[in-house]
């Protein structure tokens, strides 16, 4: 047989053609993700319209036609945001009523905190345990001496002068650090076999979780003086801290209980086989695994606590939101409510979003499940 149409045969593989132009590159992506069906196209157009309505005016107000420098209300000449207000009152927003001459103490304290905490996030630092112990036990004493003064020649700054972002960070950090051990004890108690211990822990946790933080703050600021014998007074900040710590420990206990429930029974049995008693089992085997498992949960609780610190304005402490509220009511700066709230919102957003991203990255690092 003769092969007539020789053109149909080749001896080597033909080069592959480029894919059709509407299946690769930007056009393909747009077709698939934005205009894949008629309904999707309508939604995309609506979405673009919504973005067009909101984003340019917002950017215009906040950045392009706004005032950034000046010293008083008269400098707010453009129609946009008057960030002069924020810039002039910035010290009050960050430090509250802390005397200007002693602000270096606050700065030093927080710089120390950052410097001590940063190595904990880097994998390779040696002696993390020692660093953590220093951070937990020694640093608070140093910070307290720095902030409130009274010794080493530092002038006394009473806690009702603390305010602004500094107070927010103080309340949040003390709240989280103090509620963690209490939460661990409550979680262990709730899982205990002793009926009285178990029921008291359950009652404690359910009571503190079932009431709003405002009533807790009211209770601690109004009722705590009644609970104590006459003559013993508590600093207002301390009362708020006690209330917040007890409130937070109940939530922390539930988070840790979730971690404890996830430890397989084999761990307990192996510890028993090794002859470890209850506390050694918990301290050496169970809690390290449980706490590592719930670190994202703990970070989420911290984020919630950070946002809840704004409630102290209701009992008269001036955290960041309180300082902004105070500044808004200043007669020299009437009408700056939006700028003030946007600034406070931006600060809180940066902190909370950063922490939630960190929590997600932790979850991804520690997660061993099936990703689909």
């Amino acid at each position: 047989m003769t092969h007539k149409n020789i053109a149909f045969f080749t001896t080597e593989q033909l080069p592959s053609l480029a894919p059709p132009s509407n299946t690769v590159g930007a056009t393909a992506w747009i077709r698939q993700n934005l205009f894949s069906s008629p309904i999707n196209s309508i939604f995309t157009l609506l979405g673009l319209y919504v973005v067009y309505l909101t984003i340019p005016p917002l950017l215009n107000w906040a950045f392009f036609s706004s005032d950034w420098s000046g010293t008083s209300r008269a400098d707010c000449t453009t129609g946009g945001a008057c960030w002069v207000f924020v810039q002039v009152r910035l010290q009050q927003f960050i430090y509250g009523f802390y005397p200007s001459t002693d602000i270096w103490r606050v700065n030093l304290g927080f710089l120390m905190l950052v410097a001590l905490m940063a190595p904990l996030f880097i994998e390779k630092t040696p002696r993390k345990g020692l660093l953590a112990a220093f951070l937990l036990f020694v640093y608070p004493v140093i910070a307290f001496i720095l902030f409130s003064g009274g010794s080493f020649g530092l002038s006394v700054v009473t806690t009702d002068q603390w305010g602004g972002l500094m107070l927010t960070l103080v309340i949040a950090s003390v709240g989280i650090v103090a509620s963690l051990p209490l939460g661990v004890l409550l979680a262990l108690g709730r899982r205990s076999d002793m009926p009285i211990v178990k029921s008291s822990c359950v009652v404690f946790i359910e009571i503190w979780r079932g009431v709003p933080l405002i009533t807790v703050l009211f209770m601690s600021s109004v009722m705590l003086p009644l609970f104590l014998p006459e003559g013993v007074t508590f600093d207002k900040l301390l009362r708020a801290l006690i209330g917040i710590t007890l409130f937070q420990s109940a939530y922390m206990a539930e988070v840790i209980r979730g971690g404890l429930q996830a430890i397989p029974k084999g761990q307990y049995e192996a510890a028993q086989a090794l002859g470890l008693g209850y506390w050694k089992t918990m301290g050496l085997i169970i809690l390290p695994q449980a706490l590592k498992m719930v670190i994202p949960g703990i970070v989420n609780t911290f984020i919630a606590l950070f946002k809840d610190t704004t409630l102290v304005i209701i009992i008269g402490l001036f955290d960041l939101l309180g300082a902004v509220e105070n500044a808004i009511k200043d007669p020299a700066w009437l009408g700056m409510a939006i700028e003030g709230y946007v600034f406070a919102a931006a600060v809180f957003w940066v902190f909370c979003f950063g922490m939630s991203r960190y929590s997600i990255s932790l979850e991804n690092k520690l997660h061993t499940g099936h990703k689909r």
Binding site: N33, L34, S36, N40, F43, T44, G47, L48, V50, V51, D193, M194, P195, I196, V197, S200, E206, I207, R209, G210, V211, P212, L213, I214, T215, F218, M219, V222, M223, P225, L226, F227, L228, P229, E230, I303, K307, D308, T310, L311, I313, I314, L321, E325, I328, A337, I338, Y341, A344, A345, F348, W349, C352, F353, S356, R372
Partner: protein
């Protein structure tokens, strides 16, 4: 050799200080003594301090005249009513704003959660921006923003924004037409109840028929017809006993109609927006938690997207969604106590605020407030636990 078991090799009873039972009883007794001792100490100090300050104990103050007015009340309230009545006014206001918040936050949260999973990139990003923005800003800040920055910039009553000439929005509030129910309206309500019960029975009967014979029944449209149709029929038959009282501008303000105060609007709006962001994440997590194999199996059986979602995905997703969803409802109810910041007269503002300041009975008032919130929380948790047990996966 003799292999007699030597009894002295067995451990025998431990000394009493190592016996777990004895130690357990000892420590529990210690804890009981500690807790009761602490409570007794606090109680005696409190009684002492209150006696010294001349504050009486007990609930006698509930019958005294209140002497202050409340901005908004669902039941009639005047200054000459008792302090006890302020409790109920505050409680009803809290339940009102919580109810409104829960309904709208759920609807909004589900929509945004599903949008976040949309294949449309732009919609998914917009939903993501919404969620990340409103989750990371404290609720109190959002409430204050909506109240002071937005609602204070509404126009005065004379320049209200009006919609269809019946809804008016100004700085004093939102004025909507008030429904006036005349005498025959109860029949419509009775028929509404009949319609709802009928719909439940239709659903049960249709389910039984489906299980027995495999024939589907249009339950949704039948129920819709019953729930909407029967009351409308009764309404028309009794001569439409419903008129609307329209808000009208008289002088400097509006009379008639139903006023929704700006405090309620700010609180409801911020609670809804804040909680919807959390609910959206919960819904997203729930839908993502259903294994993709379920979708693939449903497609292999020939189900299209709609029935797949309705019959396969959503029932399983609901199992994961409902527990955190109820805890968000609880959070919303507790967060409604932030009403004190804007002056909305909820339970905390009226009872633990004004009444506490006027009577000085801090202990009773704060304890009753905490008891109310505790009751709400525990009852919702209780219901949720029952639901959880019913739908729990029974594993080996």
């Amino acid at each position: 050799m003799s292999n007699k078991i030597n009894n002295s090799d067995s451990p025998g009873k431990p000394p009493f200080w190592n016996d777990p039972a004895v130690r357990s009883i000892f420590f529990q007794t210690l804890l009981l003594i500690g807790v009761f001792g602490f409570l007794y100490y606090i109680a005696s100090n409190t009684l002492d301090n209150m006696a010294k300050r001349g504050i009486s104990t007990g609930f006698a103050f509930l019958d005294y005249k209140a002497g202050f007015g409340i901005l908004m009340s669902l039941i009639d309230f005047t200054e000459s009513d008792s302090y006890g009545k302020t409790f109920f006014v505050g409680l009803l206001n809290t339940l009102l704003v919580s109810g409104i918040g829960i309904v709208f936050a759920t609807i909004m949260g589900f929509i945004i959660g599903v949008t976040r999973l949309s294949k449309n990139w732009l919609l998914a990003r917009i939903a993501a921006v919404y969620i990340e923005t409103f989750r990371n800003i404290p609720l109190l800040l959002q409430i204050l923003f909506w109240y002071f920055a937005v609602l204070r910039s509404l126009p005065s009553p004379r320049q209200s924004w009006s919609f269809f000439d019946s809804f008016f929005l100004n700085v004093r509030g939102l004025y909507i037409p008030k429904p006036v129910f005349e005498s025959g309206f109860s029949l419509t309500l009775i028929f509404l109840a009949i319609g709802i019960i009928g719909a439940i029975f239709v659903k049960k009967w249709a389910r039984k028929r489906l299980d027995a014979t495999g024939q589907p029944f249009p339950v949704f449209y039948t129920s819709l017809g019953l729930i909407l149709g029967l009351p409308v029929l009764a309404f028309l038959v009794t001569g439409a006993p419903l008129t609307w009282e329209m808000p009208a501008l008289t002088g400097f303000n509006f009379t008639g109609g139903l006023p929704i105060i700006p405090e309620l609007m700010a609180l409801g709006l911020s609670l809804t927006i804040y909680t919807a962001a959390f609910i959206a994440e919960i819904v997203r997590a729930g839908i993502l938690s259903v294994s993709h194999g379920q979708t693939e199996a449903a497609h292999a059986l020939g189900l299209k997207t709609g029935p797949t979602l309705q019959l396969v995905i959503i029932p399983q997703a609901l199992r994961v969604i409902i527990p955190p969803l109820t805890s968000q409802y609880l959070n919303l109810t507790k967060n409604s106590s932030l009403a004190t910041a804007v002056g909305y007269p909820d339970l905390v503002a009226v009872w633990a605020g004004t009444t506490l300041n006027q009577t000085g009975q801090a202990v009773e008032i704060i304890l009753t407030t905490m008891a109310v919130y505790l009751t709400i929380s525990l009852s919702i948790s209780f219901v949720m636990n029952i639901y959880n047990k019913r739908v729990a996966l029974i594993e080996r």
